[in-house]
Symmetry: C2
Subunit: 147 residues, 2 copies
Amino acid sequence: MTKARKAVLEVLGTAERPLSASEISSLVSHCCDPVTIYRTLHYLEDKGLADSFVLHCTEHGTERYFTLLAPGEASYAHHHWFHCEHCHQFIDLGDCRIGTLVDAYQEELGIRVTGHTLYLTGVCPACSSLGRNGQEHDHRGHESQSE
Amino acid sequence: MTKARKAVLEVLGTAERPLSASEISSLVSHCCDPVTIYRTLHYLEDKGLADSFVLHCTEHGTERYFTLLAPGEASYAHHHWFHCEHCHQFIDLGDCRIGTLVDAYQEELGIRVTGHTLYLTGVCPACSSLGRNGQEHDHRGHESQSE
DNA sequence: AATTTTTTGCAAATCACTTGCATTTTCGAT
DNA sequence: ATCGAAAATGCAAGTGATTTGCAAAAAATT
Ligand SMILES: [Mn+2]
Ligand SMILES: [Mn+2]
Ligand SMILES: [Zn+2]
Ligand SMILES: [Zn+2]
């Protein structure tokens, strides 16, 4: 296993939230070229060690986010996430809860589902209490906690 | 209402599947510049007339897809879609069925959910029967039906 | 119709991500 | 430990979707 891959695995394993390639790139600080991050992430996803989804957020644009998958974890045993559109943090929604819904769709429609993407967006508790429901003003204060 | 916006509305209203900006661009054939399509789609989404999601498909890359929203339609009253990774067609999953799940998350976590993205991917019935479960070979034949 | 406001087209810029290719690293076999 | 094949990396350049600046054209107001 190469240095770059160890570093990315380490960073992904430590993070408790999905990370984008650029976040990973800065977290492994100069360990390797960004292009290697991309290649490493492909590698990990191919190997079934990582999971990813593409999230679009008005402020941050469209980016792919990655999480580590426990080895041998079944396809439904991944997590889904909530993304706060104010502070741009993720909140873990825990293990996937739409397995039965997916099964229902498969039976109803005769489709074979091999993957799905689900994420929620809105305002996190912290932003709600600070920013009076995150709708009216722009209260800075706890924003950009992790960027 | 301008010519370009009428054209895009018409195309989106006729289509029975989500359309990408580039698909829309060719469907309105030379009516306007692609950049106007993008601006029009932003406009429609702002007005609440259109809904969109970003889908990543290995073969087609990452693109944003748009559907028309019945005017006055509540936020949960949208559809979700299945995307066949063989023929790249969408299958309508009907009205959103995760309203209660989303509510559960809101209560459990104290988050305020204002939007969500859900789509399924896999192999459609047509591709399954033709291509022997869409896993082994590459049977061409009914692919590229709508592109 | 004249004026103001919005929308459009074209060209150029972004941005995330990919690819080509020559140069290392890694790794299995000696 | 050493050698050579195979895989991984860096750098530069290329993609493809989407955005932005700005002046011209179209639509809404008056
Ligand atoms: Mn964000
Ligand atoms: Mn596709
Ligand atoms: Zn927040
Ligand atoms: Zn299909």
